[in-house]
């Protein structure tokens, strides 16, 4: 097996491609750095000069408003120049190749590439071909990974729960298609969470998911029992077409989070969601807007976490 492509010779973070394979110390370094940036985001002048003179290219081969915007805000708060490029992946296959696009941007003196691509592994390919001083941050690749989302989830959990070693965390819904779930699972197991559960129907759980170190539940009521953290995943409408589910209504009946089911979790449980939410499909409004929900703080922490990641890779 090759060396972990995310780390440089000194074992420091060169690129952020996946949480899998990152040592605990690096995860904690990112979370601690993010904590110091939360203060910045609350100041009146929300800027620090860490990336002054550096260029961040937001390279989005798959449409996204939310993630791209948070990366843009994070980069600007670090005083970087931000260039947004939305590249339609389907038109790309006919024209310039992925690596040609990157080579061209590299010639324009990029320092950080933030990459989202619909195909799993695309940021790894790019990271193999960029210059030594350039850094790649994965902003979501296919079903594979969404490491900054995973990190902001970890940050949120640590913020509210402190000790990872005493937690039971449940991730509910479409694990099969979810890069968010994969990244979070790797993060939780690396940080020593003793019980990570995944809850969903067989059609939405990937083959051999237990090998990631999780317990599988098909019955949501059973799976939520005594949980400290409940992470709800977005259910895409197209899942109803591929014979994965009969209907959104039936899905909500079995796997939608309402106040009744949430009552099975611990009294102080927190509810998270990577957004955007489908109210009434995977989560009831009373829960989404209720006292257990930390969905909006997640977004705020997300900016600090992305600032932390960019400042750390640029410093290595």
């Amino acid at each position: 097996m090759q060396r972990n492509p995310q780390l440089n010779e000194k074992g420091e973070l060169q690129h952020l491609l996946s949480i899998e394979g990152l040592p605990r110390a690096i995860l904690l370094q990112i979370l601690d750095t993010a904590e110091s940036f939360v203060g910045v985001t609350e100041r009146e002048v929300k800027k620090v000069p860490i990336l002054r003179g550096k260029s961040v290219f937001n390279l989005f081969f798959e449409p996204s408003t939310r993630t791209r915007t948070t990366f843009e805000i994070a980069a600007k708060r670090l005083s970087a120049d931000v260039i947004n490029l939305n590249i339609n992946a389907s038109s790309q296959t006919k024209g310039e190749s992925l690596l040609d696009t990157v080579a061209n941007l590299s010639a324009m003196q990029a320092d950080i590439f933030v990459v989202r691509h619909e195909s799993s592994g695309a940021p790894f390919l790019i990271a193999r071909h960029v210059k030594p001083h350039e850094h790649v941050i994965n902003a979501g690749d296919g079903r594979h990974a969404h490491p900054t989302q995973g990190l902001l989830d970890l940050y949120t959990i640590r913020h509210y729960k402190k000790d990872f070693a005493a937690l039971t965390v449940a991730i509910v819904g479409d694990i099969l298609h979810s890069r968010v779930a994969r990244s979070l699972i790797h993060g939780l197991t690396t940080l020593g969470v003793p019980e990570v559960r995944v809850i969903g129907p067989q059609t939405l759980l990937p083959t051999g998911v237990e090998a990631l170190g999780v317990r599988v539940f098909h019955d949501m009521r059973e799976g939520l029992k005594d949980c400290d953290v409940v992470v709800m995943l977005r259910l895409q409408n197209e899942r109803m077409r591929g014979a994965l589910l009969p209907s959104a209504q039936e899905y909500f009946k079995h796997y939608g989070l309402n106040a009744d089911k949430l009552g099975l979790a611990r009294r102080d449980a927190i509810v998270m969601h990577p957004g955007p939410m489908n109210r009434g499909v995977e989560i009831d409004s009373t829960v989404a807007d209720g006292p257990h929900s930390v969905i909006l703080p997640q977004v705020t922490f997300g900016i600090a976490v992305r600032m932390a990641v960019m400042s750390i890779v640029a410093g290595n």
């Binding site: 097996m1 090759q2 492509p5 899998e20 296959t93 190749s97 992925l98 690596l99 691509h117 195909s119 799993s120 592994g121 695309a122 790894f124 390919l125 690749d141 296919g142 079903r143 594979h144 990974a145 890069r179 994969r182 990937p206 083959t207 051999g208 998911v209 090998a211 990631l212």
Partner: protein, 419 residues
């Protein structure tokens, strides 16, 4: 030209005989004795064996000349000791017309390197709907009929095709993969694909399709060769089918004997293959099945892919790897791991594929065509793009150091490669 090869370690896989000695070639055939030789070759330390026979080598002509040409790939073949090869019909246009087959054979013959045995398309344009003119294609030189990797989703078409082929005694070569179950998949459906977030192809996509094929063979008695087994389950099904006496044979690509899904590492597009690399358990079952003879032959599944085709995210990368020049080293490596004699090892790429093809080759007897290879089993080679003659430079074994170097290749008594 008369040749006298002396001091060789002569291995005849067909008879299982091994021994040191000499061999004569006259008039393109293996001769009883020499008379005055035009050339005497001292083969001390080298193995003399029948030239290798590869059941699947894509030459990319017509239609994909930017990936490879007949010239480059037949150079690669003889450099790998391959003297006969079957090429699948997935060219552009597909080999579904006698004219195309005829042209391909003429072009290959004019290059006078390895012998080329075209496999014709089973259905027009490989679309899986209408049967090709198998009779005319057979007359033009097709040795069998196949869909290559194109799906044949309609089981009724498959049934009819086997009935028709059985009527005239044509061989049908099929890959066993259920098109619906494999839809969208790019990797073995298992823990590795789950971790990497790659859409999976379940192992039962192969066993279900193979079950259908075997049931149709039972009904039609068509002669079927199953290509590129990839699962332990398929090896079991083939074992039982042979015990039952069905007229079936099968092969495995050498990548699948040595590699598994773990080798995908961090999305190595070199490991994007069809069928996908499967689990360690499957790999081990394939290696054993090949040793036991349940799997008749090993092949290179040579598929030249250009750089642009591989410099893509895993799922978008073009499947396939170069293989002709790795056929010998990878076969030797497998034989060594299975503790087989050299004769038993080489049988999988000489006498056995000759039997599947129904050609007079792959054995060392007086009067047989002098398609021969001399190789050094102990010399090693580092696999690098520059070391490969094939225009396809992509293989999961790039950088690997492998034993087995071809020194001389003869086709019909003529030296076609010498190093």
């Amino acid at each position: 030209m008369r040749l006298h090869i002396k001091n060789a370690r002569i291995v005849d896989p067909a008879s299982g005989k091994e021994g040191s000695g000499e061999l004569f070639v006259a008039d393109g055939r293996i001769a009883a004795e020499g008379g005055k030789a035009d050339r005497v070759i001292d083969a001390k330390g080298l193995v003399l064996a029948p030239g290798f026979i590869d059941l699947s080598a894509r030459l990319r002509e017509p239609g994909h000349e930017y990936k490879a040409t007949l010239e480059s790939e037949l150079d690669a073949a003889v450099a790998g000791g391959v003297t006969s090869l079957a090429c699948p019909p997935d060219t552009d246009p597909a080999l579904d017309e006698p004219g195309l087959v005829d042209m391909l054979r003429r072009r290959a013959k004019a290059l006078s390197r390895a012998r080329v045995f075209p496999v014709g398309a089973l259905t027009v344009k490989l679309e899986g709907e209408r049967l090709t003119e198998m009779g005319q294609l057979s007359d033009a030189g097709c040795v069998a009929f196949s869909q290559a990797n194109a799906p044949l989703a309609d089981a009724q078409v498959l049934w009819r095709a086997l009935q028709y082929a059985a009527t005239f005694g044509y061989a049908v070569w099929l890959r066993a993969e259920d098109a619906d179950l494999a839809k969208g998949g790019v990797a073995h459906d298992g823990e590795v694909a789950t971790r990497l977030g790659l859409p999976g192809i379940p192992a039962f996509a192969e066993t279900i399709a193979l079950g259908t094929i075997l049931e149709l063979v039972r009904a039609t008695r068509a002669r079927v060769h199953v290509c590129r087994l990839s699962t332990a389950g398929a090896v079991d099904l083939m074992r039982r089918a042979k015990q039952e006496g069905l007229p079936v044979t099968c092969d495995v690509g050498l990548h699948h004997v040595h590699l598994c899904d773990m080798d995908l590492g961090y999305f190595q597009s070199q490991c994007r293959l069809e069928p996908p690399l499967r689990s360690q358990r499957d790999r081990d079952a394939l290696a054993r099945g090949l040793a036991e003879g349940v799997i008749d032959c090993a092949c290179s599944d040579h598929t030249p892919v250009d750089e642009d085709g591989k410099h893509l995210p895993f799922a978008l990368a073009e499947p396939g790897a170069t293989g002709l020049e790795l056929l010998l080293p990878l076969t030797l490596k497998w034989g060594l791991a299975q503790r087989l004699s050299l004769a038993a090892t080489l049988a999988r790429i000489t006498s056995e594929p000759a039997r599947v093809l129904g050609i007079d080759a792959g054995r060392l007897v007086v009067g047989a065509p002098a398609d021969l290879v001399l190789f050094d089993p102990r010399a090693s080679v580092r696999i690098t793009p520059a070391a490969l003659k094939s225009q396809g430079k992509n293989t999961p074994f790039l950088g690997a150091e492998l034993d087995g170097v071809v020194r001389l290749t003869l086709v019909e008594g003529n030296v076609v490669y010498e190093a």
